[in-house]
């Protein structure tokens, strides 16, 4: 499997992803720097977490204007799977590859914890009870228009929902798919949940794997 990981000034989870994909999944990974367009010949694309452009203007806003994002739009038009994690989710929303936007958490704090999640929409029942992934963000509060939310519900696009909404997100949305289900953004960090955890409550299932299995199934189609 050939994976492309987009990188911007201020990305800081790009190497976590590269290590996860190479070590755990033996993927052929290419880092794609923001200043250059790229050939859309990868099987799957990831937009990693971090603080691209220092979160200037709005989170993800300046990264969404990058040359590499023009190529990513071409990849999206071809139906290639595209996964945005945390800041990557914010970038995909700003690039209009996903509906809505992510604003400050309602408690105004950066939240860093394991967050309970449930599959919904097309992923209903995909994860076991008690499923959780780590989150770490200040702007994870998903908002969109009422019409967009209605579409999201109707089309089963809210793939991951918080079981105990930590940030105020509409409809408890933690992970969201595009209408054609090929572009997915999520606030949790599955790439940080692949190793055995010291906390026994979260170590037994190595929860990130369940997420990546769902994602790689998209790449195989």
């Amino acid at each position: 499997m050939k994976a492309g990981v987009l990188t911007f000034p201020g990305s800081n989870c790009d190497h976590d992803l590269v290590t996860a994909l190479q070590k755990e999944y033996k993927a052929d990974v290419e880092l794609l720097w923001h200043t250059a367009p790229f050939e859309t010949n990868h099987d799957i694309y990831f937009v990693p977490g971090g603080f691209s452009y220092g979160d200037y203007l709005r989170t993800g806003a300046l990264a969404a204007q990058s040359k590499s994002m023009d190529s990513l739009r071409q990849a999206a038009a071809k139906g290639k799977p595209i996964i945005g994690i945390c800041n990557g989710f914010q970038i995909l929303c700003e690039a209009k590859l996903l509906p809505g936007a992510l604003i400050r958490n309602t408690n105004l704090q950066h939240i860093c914890e394991w967050s309970g999640l449930a599959g919904d929409g097309d992923w209903k029942g995909a994860f076991p009870a008690g499923y959780a992934l780590p989150i770490s963000h200040g702007e994870g509060n998903f908002i969109c228009s009422d019409d967009e939310l209605e579409d999201i519900k109707q089309n089963g696009q809210a793939l991951l929902r918080y079981t105990n909404n930590p940030n105020g997100a509409m409809f408890d949305i933690a992970g969201l798919a595009s209408k054609n289900k090929r572009v997915i953004g999520l606030m949790p960090h599955p790439e940080r949940a692949l190793a055995e955890q010291p906390d026994a409550r979260v170590s037994h299932a190595r929860y990130g794997r369940l997420f990546f299995e769902k994602i790689f199934a998209l790449a195989a189609v």
């Binding site: 806003a61 204007q65 228009s145």
Partner: protein, 86 residues
């Protein structure tokens, strides 16, 4: 080509949480100033640009505002363009 100055005032929609304004309001209230019932912080963006005409300058500003300066999911944007005094 003529020179223009432009400003874009970006405001959060009323329905959207605006934490900086809330923090300022709470800080004022802590000091005993309870008459400030609402504070909202937005962005004021100054731009200098070249264009053939005032109309062309406005179009250019509208374009970058829609593409980049504000996000209509959560914000509104008001643009003013003036020809630069020589």
């Amino acid at each position: 080509m003529k020179q223009f100055t432009a400003t874009a005032t970006v405001r959060f929609k009323k329905s959207v949480l605006e934490p900086q304004g809330k923090a300022i309001q709470l800080s004022l209230a802590e000091k005993g100033s309870h008459e400030f019932s609402l504070v909202r912080v937005g962005k004021y963006i100054e731009v200098e640009l070249e264009a053939e005409s005032l109309e062309a300058a406005k179009q250019k500003m509208d374009k970058i505002a829609g593409d980049m300066l504000f996000n209509d999911v959560m914000e509104t944007c008001e643009i003013h363009v003036n020809e630069k005094a020589k």
